[in-house]
């Protein structure tokens, strides 16, 4: 793998890791940073409804995003991590991305329509699929555009 491409993947992994760490309150030392919790919660409320019943909790403390968003971000993080060790380019067609997104969209639609009840695990899995798919889809395009001559 070319060094520039690897560098790009590492930078993306770092950014996603920071974002993921940010929504897990349990990873913070609040003895020193106790004042940031309310603002941290407010920050993530921009991207997620944060409904406690739809969020995972560790030691009775809820994560700052719902199960589906957790899945999306962990999916991106996992894909970013894999792409560090994977030598080469992974290509996902637009049609395949839509196919990967379909479980998430259907789950949202069915839960909203009341066909079945919301389950955190299913939301997490559909989010994982979507997040990893979108990451690979975007990464290929960036690399193709930046390093097409290498």
């Amino acid at each position: 793998m070319k060094s520039k491409s690897l560098l790009l993947r590492i930078v993306l992994l770092i950014f996603i890791s920071i974002w993921v760490i940010g929504f897990i309150p349990q990873l913070f030392n609040y003895d020193l940073l106790g004042f940031i919790y309310p603002f941290q919660k407010q920050l993530y409320s921009n991207v997620c409804h944060q409904i406690p019943e739809k969020s995972f909790s560790i030691n009775q403390i809820h994560l700052l995003v719902c199960a589906r968003c957790t899945g999306i971000y962990f999916g991106s993080l996992t894909a970013a991590l894999i792409m560090i060790f994977y030598r080469g380019k992974l290509f996902i067609k637009t049609f395949q991305l839509i196919l990967i997104s379909l479980p998430l969209l259907l789950d949202v639609a069915f839960v909203s329509a009341g066909v079945y009840n919301y389950t955190k695990i299913f939301a997490l899995i559909t989010g994982l699929l979507f997040g990893s798919g979108v990451f690979i889809y975007i990464l290929y395009s960036i690399e193709n555009l930046l390093f097409k001559n290498e």
Partner: protein, 169 residues
């Protein structure tokens, strides 16, 4: 107006309207702003009759502008709704934040943050406006919407550039 800024303005405005509608935010979570950026790029290529690959810098800029416009408009809408309703998500989630702070035993500094939020809450209840709240949500919106706008820009670029494999249509 310059055609360069019109698509981000239109899509940013649409995204901010959608994110204000009750229920839509729960439905689409973090997907509104990236989707708006994607549409910005599509609109940009249509209005400017662009028939070539979108550059990375262009996609990031358009995504960033969509996010910034969305941040400004959604802050305006949020403040307007808060003014009339005298409540908002922050006030409604305050008891939960208080409970979590107690559960996690975050200490005196966290309690000070909580006091600040309670002051914000009482200001909003009394007057419908709080300058601290305005600064807080504007900063939050600018940071988060810019990031997600750029992600949407990258997504849009990926989608559009697929048509031009190896630079040939």
């Amino acid at each position: 107006m310059n055609k360069k800024y019109l698509p981000p303005l239109v899509c940013g405005f649409a995204a901010s309207v959608l994110s204000t509608v009750p229920g839509i935010k729960n439905f689409s979570c973090c997907l509104i702003i990236p989707a708006a950026s994607l549409f910005t790029l599509l609109l940009y290529t249509k209005t400017n009759f662009i028939d070539e690959k979108i550059l990375l810098s262009k996609a990031l800029w358009l995504g960033l502008f969509t996010g910034l416009f969305a941040a400004i408009f959604s802050t305006m809408f949020e403040m307007l709704i808060t003014f009339f309703a005298r409540t908002n998500d922050l006030i409604e989630s305050l008891p939960e934040i208080e409970l979590t702070i107690k559960q996690m035993n975050l200490g005196i500094v966290a309690n000070d943050s909580l006091k600040l939020l309670k002051k914000v809450s009482s200001e909003i209840n009394n007057t419908g406006f709080s300058s601290v709240y305005l600064i807080m949500i504007l900063t939050n919106n600018l940071i988060v919407n810019s990031i997600f706008g750029m992600i949407g820009g990258l997504l849009g670029m990926s989608y559009i550039n697929r048509k031009y494999k190896n630079g040939v249509q």
